[in-house]
Structure formats: structure tokens, C-alpha cells
């Protein structure tokens, strides 16, 4: 599904604008990465898409249909978000939490169908948390909790997947596993949008990079084109030099390279 952000602005109070007339289009089959300084509005954008916050102006639509027109159930079947701020009930088991993702497909009498169970089981295997299934959420480490959240997201099986800093708390092996998974979802035809803070990972995985700065879209396009030393200077205020070859490179602070 195509997610379209059309001229969207948002401000908490009249004078403090977080986003100013942002327009973006997210097409299926692509892995988008959003980068930007802390507090520049990346998470706010996700909150606006998920209708956690009200738009000050503009419109957000999925496949042409305005998001406001969706019921909560329809929206949950179309777009899902992986977020740090989600509180985890201590006494809930991992298995139950992962099953929650299926909520929008269930009815009063059908809360645990064969299909639901198979999908949830698959998701847990994918995120390698099957052996944790009966453990309580409070007994998990940060990384395990993050993988559990991702598993819950997978069971929701939405066409649009939003990932807010998905690599947080994860060790390196799991970080790349998750990013590979994101890429795989994109190749299956889903629309995957991730907020990442690691520039290298962004460059390696993104089909399309979007830089947010000063309430606006600073630049968007292919990674090599967008992630440049100029951009690092303007947006992140760091003097960098690119080190690497045409395919792969990293941006290192200049003063570290003698």
C-alpha cells in the first residue's frame, strides 16, 4: 500500500512547530530510512501517522483514502508501528504479547484460531524467541523485549510497517537480523519505513533515505546521494570525510583522520 503524507504540519503549541508542511510518499516494495537530529520530529511523524497526535494541517492517506476515515480496526490492519515507548505489562507472557498483534483480526468468539496460533508461532521463530514463550515480560532483557515487540508487529501482518529505532537494546547479531528482516518484508511488497540513527546501517539497507531537519525535509533520495559530507555538516553539525569505495562507505569525523 502507498502511504502518502501531504502537506502535513504539526505543532504542540502555537509557537513551537515540530513539522512544517512535510510532503512524502512511501511506495510499496521499498525500505525507507528516516534520519535526523534528536527531536527533529521523526517519532512525531510516526505518531501522526498512527493518529496518536492530531494533525495541525494537511492530510495523511493510505492508497488514496484519508486516514481519518479509517476505523481503528482497519487502520490496525493496514499500518503497524514498533515503538520504544510501549509499556510492557509485567505479568504478561511473551506468547500472549505476541498474540496481541492478531487482535484486529479477531472477533468476540474467535480469539485464538488455528491461523492466529500458526502466525504467532512463526513470528516468534523468526525473531528467535520461541524458547522465551512462557516467560513473563518483566523477566526479559532489553534485547529480548525488543525482539518480542517485533514479533508482535509481525503477527499484525500489515502492509505498511513503521519501525522507530528498532535496533535499540539489540546486540549486533540481532540488529542485523532485524534489518535483514525489514529488507525481506520490503522485498515481499510491503512498505517499510524505519527511523535509524546509525548512518552506516542506513546507507547499507535503505532503498531511499529521507533527512529531516528544521521542521522540513532536507533531502531525500538514494543513500549515496543523500548521505554526504555536506549534509552531515548542515544537519548534524559534524565535519566528516567519506571513507570507502563507490559501493560502500562511512563518514568519519575529519579530525580523526590525520
Amino acid at each position: 500500500m502507498t502511504l502518502k503524507i501531504d502537506n502535513v504540519s504539526f505543532a504542540y503549541q502555537a509557537d513551537r512547530k515540530i513539522l512544517d508542511a512535510i510532503s512524502l510518499t512511501f511506495e510499496p516494495g521499498n525500505f525507507y530510512v528516516i534520519i535526523g537530529q534528536n527531536g527533529c520530529g521523526k517519532s512525531t511523524l510516526f505518531n501522526l501517522i498512527m493518529r496518536h497526535l492530531p494533525l495541525s494541517s494537511g492530510q495523511i492517506s493510505i492508497n488514496g483514502k484519508d486516514l481519518q476515515q479509517h476505523s481503528f480496526k482497519e487502520q490496525a490492519q493496514s499500518v503497524s508501528v514498533l515503538s520504544q515507548s510501549m509499556p510492557l505489562p509485567e505479568f504478561m507472557t511473551v506468547a500472549d504479547m505476541v498474540m496481541q498483534g492478531r487482535f484486529c483480526y479477531q472477533g468476540f468468539f474467535s480469539r485464538f484460531s488455528v491461523e492466529d496460533r500458526a502466525i504467532a508461532d512463526q513470528a516468534m521463530q523468526k525473531m528467535q524467541i520461541t524458547e522465551l514463550a512462557s516467560k513473563r515480560l518483566s523477566a526479559l532483557s532489553g534485547g529480548q523485549q525488543q525482539r518480542a515487540r517485533m514479533a508482535m508487529l509481525l503477527t499484525q501482518q500489515t502492509d505498511i510497517v513503521l519501525l522507530d529505532e528498532p535496533t535499540t537494546h539489540l546486540d549486533l547479531k540481532h540488529q542485523y537480523m532485524l534489518l535483514d528482516l525489514g529488507k525481506e518484508l520490503a522485498e515481499q511488497g510491503k512498505t517499510v519505513v524505519a527511523i535509524l540513527h546509525d548512518m552506516t546501517q542506513a546507507a547499507l539497507y535503505a532503498d531511499h533515505v529521507i533527512v529531516l531537519a528544521e521542521q522540513k525535509v532536507y533531502a531525500q533520495g538514494a543513500a549515496q546521494l543523500v548521505i554526504t559530507d555536506t549534509m552531515m555538516q548542515h544537519v548534524f553539525h559534524v565535519n566528516t570525510s567519506r571513507v570507502g569505495n563507490e559501493k560502500v562507505g562511512i563518514h568519519v569525523p575529519t579530525h580523526l583522520i590525520a
Binding site: 496481541q100 480469539r111 485464538f112 514463550a133 499484525q156
Partner: protein
């Protein structure tokens, strides 16, 4: 066979229906129902007036032949027992729902001062008017709960799930019970003894009619709860993330709070200010069966009913012929529990 099939019994009479039930919960439920039934029967037997097992069987078998013993049971004990079970279940459910709404394991009608507010309204009613009917006392109770809830919310609307709401709730409860004390100590009316007992919660004055009402009310509330219980699981992830999962969070949070209020108000109107049942029952239930919206609610209710029943029965029998109010027992256990819980929670 995956982990879900291993841990759960699936109730699936036909293709479109599939309801999960933890195998462990099933066992716990069976055990609790047995305990409740046994407690019920024992409570009929125990008391300062001695009654034989034959009399108990007669009552249970609806044998209408009345002798001294069976009439004791019918008129004095049966109402108290029915009342205690219903009240325990309702207050436990109320506490559980409040905890879901506030996402705070310490929320409970007693802790948040709601019981004190409702009790004060009812006491004022008794002091002011000569004729107090069941309906008016329940209306007064509702009023008390609503107003107290508004006051507490006004203080803490920004920060529902810390320990601050507990402090405010206790402080508000203290104000309201100070007013109740002052009111009662300064007036002399017909029903002084009743009202003094009312302040701490007592099943002494329940007659068969009010006990039946409470039982029917309990059945009603349980039915509504079962309808709503599906939404409780997602609501635990917070307002925003419940919405992401597909729940109209605002609507259902309000439903849950309203159901909590409807569950507690008639209880307080008839029995007085009891609290902490929800706190204790839900905590125990969570530790026994983990967290699943519907199942946790049902187990909490059973635990609450058993607890309250025994509080009343022990109060009647332990120090016979002295009768101790059930509410006093519960307040004592509640206070102890609360202290233990705060240490446990803050240690996280």
C-alpha cells in the same frame, strides 16, 4: 503443535469459535470453585448459634420447613454469605478494572479514596433524611464515587501510573473519612450502631432482599465484563498502543471506568466502606496465572469472593459472641498487604 497449543485449552465447538484458556487457569478455576462451594457450606454451619449439618442440608435443598435452626440460617446467615460473596466479587472486579484503566497495580477503590467518598455520601443521606430506601442510598453512593473520582483525577491526570496517585488517593480518603468521623461523632440518630459499623464495612445488616439484589447485580456486571473483557489485553499497552492494535482506546477506557464505578457503588451503599479487596485479589491472581484479561478478571473475582466470605465468617466466629466487622479484617489485611506491595513494587 506449537507453544500455544501446548499451554492452552482451546474451546472450539465449531469453526468460527475459538476461545483460549490457559490449562493452568482451568485448574485454578476448578480449584477455586470448589473452595468457594466448600466455604459457602461451612459458613452456613459456623456461627454463634449452633446448627447441625442436617439443617444445613435442609437449607441447601430448599426444604421450606422452618425450625429455629433453619430460620437462623435463612434470615441471618444466608444473606450475609450471599452478600459477602457478591460484594467480594464486585469489589475485586472494580479494583481490577481500575488497575487496567490507570495501568497501576496499586489502584483500588479503597486506595483511591472512592470507598470513603461513597460511604460519606451515604452517611450524609442517613443523617439528613428519615427514610432511606435502597435506591436513594445507591444513588448517593454513585454520586460519592463520581465526585471523589473527579477530585482525585483533577490532581493526578498527568501522572496516573506512579505512586503519586496513591498518595493523593489516600489523602483524599483521609479527608473524607475525617468528615465521616466528625459527622458521626456529633449527631445521635436511630441507627448509630449501624452507621458506625457501616464506616468500616459490615455485612451485619444485610437482609435477604438486599443480598439477593447484590447477587443479581453481580451476575449483571459479570455479563457486561465478559462482553468487554476482550479489550482489556490491548488496553494494557497504553492508550496509544491500544489504538495501534485496533482498539478505540478512548471509548473503552471510559467503558471500563464506568463499569468499575457501577460495580462498586451498590456494594458500598449496602455494606459500607470496604476497599483493598481488588488490590489483594488481583495481585494474588496475577502471580498465580499471569496476565490475560478475561481469565484474570474471573480469578480475581473468585479470590475476592472467597476472601470476603471468610473475613465475614471469621469475624462472626473467631471471637464469639463478639462480632467483628468483616471490613475491619479486610482493612487490616489490606494495610499489611499494601505495605508489602509498596516495598515489592519500588524494588523493581
Amino acid at each position: 503443535m506449537n507453544i500455544f497449543d501446548n499451554q492452552n485449552m482451546i474451546i472450539s465447538p465449531s469453526k468460527g469459535i475459538s476461545l483460549p484458556l490457559y490449562k493452568r487457569t482451568f485448574l485454578v478455576l476448578c480449584a477455586l470453585v470448589v473452595v468457594l462451594s466448600v466455604s459457602f457450606i461451612c459458613s452456613l454451619k459456623l456461627g454463634s448459634v449452633s446448627v447441625s449439618w442436617a439443617d444445613v442440608y435442609a437449607v441447601i435443598g430448599f426444604d421450606m420447613a422452618l425450625n429455629d435452626a433453619t430460620s437462623t440460617i435463612y434470615e441471618l446467615r444466608l444473606p450475609r454469605i450471599m452478600g459477602a460473596i457478591s460484594a467480594g466479587a464486585l469489589m475485586a472486579l472494580s479494583g481490577y478494572l481500575l488497575q487496567t484503566a490507570a495501568r497501576n497495580a496499586l489502584a483500588d477503590p479503597g486506595v483511591l479514596g472512592l470507598s470513603d467518598g461513597a460511604a460519606l455520601s451515604v452517611i450524609v443521606l442517613y443523617v439528613v433524611s428519615l427514610q432511606v430506601s435502597l435506591t436513594t442510598s445507591i444513588i448517593a453512593s454513585f454520586f460519592g464515587v463520581f465526585v471523589t473520582a473527579l477530585v482525585v483525577l483533577w490532581f493526578v491526570h498527568k501522572n496516573l501510573n506512579g505512586t503519586f496517585i496513591v498518595l493523593v488517593g489516600i489523602a483524599v480518603g483521609a479527608v473524607l473519612s475525617a468528615f465521616s468521623d466528625m459527622l458521626l461523632s456529633s449527631v445521635t440518630i436511630e441507627d448509630m450502631a449501624f452507621l458506625m459499623a457501616f464506616l468500616s464495612g459490615s455485612f451485619l445488616s444485610l437482609d435477604l432482599a438486599s443480598a439477593s439484589f447484590l447477587s443479581i447485580w453481580m451476575a449483571l456486571i459479570i455479563s457486561v465484563f465478559l462482553l468487554l473483557s476482550r479489550y482489556i489485553n490491548p488496553l494494557n499497552f497504553g492508550y496509544q498502543h491500544a489504538m495501534s492494535l485496533g482498539v478505540d482506546a478512548k471509548k473503552y477506557y471510559i467503558f471500563i471506568i464506568i463499569l468499575a464505578v457501577f460495580a462498586m457503588a451498590p456494594v458500598i451503599a449496602l455494606v459500607g466502606s470496604i476497599g483493598f479487596i481488588g488490590l489483594i485479589a488481583t495481585f494474588l491472581a496475577k502471580n498465580i496465572i499471569g496476565y490475560r484479561g478475561t481469565e484474570l478478571g474471573i480469578v480475581s473475582m473468585l479470590l475476592g469472593a472467597i476472601m470476603t466470605l471468610w473475613a465475614d465468617t471469621l469475624g462472626r466466629t473467631l471471637f464469639a459472641p463478639i462480632m467483628i466487622n468483616a471490613g475491619v479484617f479486610i482493612a487490616l489485611i489490606g494495610a499489611l498487604f499494601f505495605i508489602i506491595m509498596t516495598r515489592y513494587i519500588v524494588r523493581q
